[in-house]
Symmetry: C2
Subunit: 218 residues, 2 copies
Amino acid sequence: MPKNKTAAAEQTSAAPLVRTEPIQERSAARIDALLDAAAAVVDEIGFDRLTTAMVADRAEASIGTVYRYFPDRIVLLQALRDRAIERYRQAIVERVTGETPETWVEAVGSAIDAFVGMFRTEPGFRIIRFADAERGPVNRDEPPRVGFFALRFADILAAEYTLPDDEALTFHLEIVVELVDALINRAFLIDMAGDERFIAEARTVVREYLETRYPAAA
Amino acid sequence: MPKNKTAAAEQTSAAPLVRTEPIQERSAARIDALLDAAAAVVDEIGFDRLTTAMVADRAEASIGTVYRYFPDRIVLLQALRDRAIERYRQAIVERVTGETPETWVEAVGSAIDAFVGMFRTEPGFRIIRFADAERGPVNRDEPPRVGFFALRFADILAAEYTLPDDEALTFHLEIVVELVDALINRAFLIDMAGDERFIAEARTVVREYLETRYPAAA
DNA sequence: GAGCAGATGATCGAGTTCCGATCGGTGACC
DNA sequence: GGTCACCGATCGGAACTCGATCATCTGCTC
């Protein structure tokens, strides 16, 4: 069992906040159960109707336990999103190593497929909207980690391919992330199975976008 | 004074809901004042920190008055969004009739400019995200009017130009709406003035998208 | 067409309900 | 016996309700 050290750790001053940090074994399972419950609730009644009591109920825990691991409702949702993103990252890696696309542009296509797959299988995924970071609650101090997913995505690609030494690449990938996020979300907005027209168009738009800019890699 | 009978009227069963429908003159002003207040609050402290009490305060009305016109907090925000969309529609019409672009594809460019302008001038605009309809609270009965803005946009264009008789046009416009919404929102996500790179890229992506599909109109 | 009176709409704000979050206490693990 | 996980009654504050009160409209009378 890998110990789950959060990078954040303690700030400068005393941080008496209970923070998420499992010490004993069972805690990890608890956290997962809580997030599963939250995902289910989010799928059923939607994002902003979710109450912490519902999450506790569904996870067969008490209110207190919820707040034992998450300082508040918003952080709980963020944790759900973070877990989903991590799972998505794994899904990309699996798919790319499985399909071994010729070029990194094609690998982006695989990532889109993986994204669509997540919408179909991962509870709560369709509500999360994570291309952009936290919208709304303007974060205290810490930089609002905008576009961080594009960076991470670049890392994944860089592990398998030789990326063009283009300083604009990060920007282009961020555009791609935004485009895909918008169109795939639209595809699943009403159609629970995912509207194929929008899915196909997302693939096409991205392919056109990248082929125009990186003809060598297409 | 035109009596303002709601189209909805009575459903099968008794509908005791108070619903928004101004009868007397002052009501309209009240509603506007409430929405102005909501927009200001949203700009200042953000979307989900908004409380109905703040809105009432700022509009110099009582809590009761807020709930006289809006069944709940979420509907209040939706109304704010609806008004912003209407204003945006007007802004498009004004700009297009003012600039009189040669082709409808160029008119789409003007619409993007108008969109950016709204982000800079219309209070509360940047939080609203309206390309997609209501996300989250799954609406009872009524169809979730997805993509309705693209339809409306097509109407605006059709009033000034002869649009291609392409049954896929609506779909393409919807894609454009999604793309623009995503990229322009990203442009304003952290940069209050709007990140020019994303704005320019939005224009480029849309132009490329439409020129590929409608070379005659470009 | 001025004045009045009843009806109906608009406003108010104290009271209620609901929900996010706390805290002191109890039991499980080391 | 000391730490950690868990519970759930309780608190505080925000969403929302409701009966009373004020403003405006309608239409009748003279």
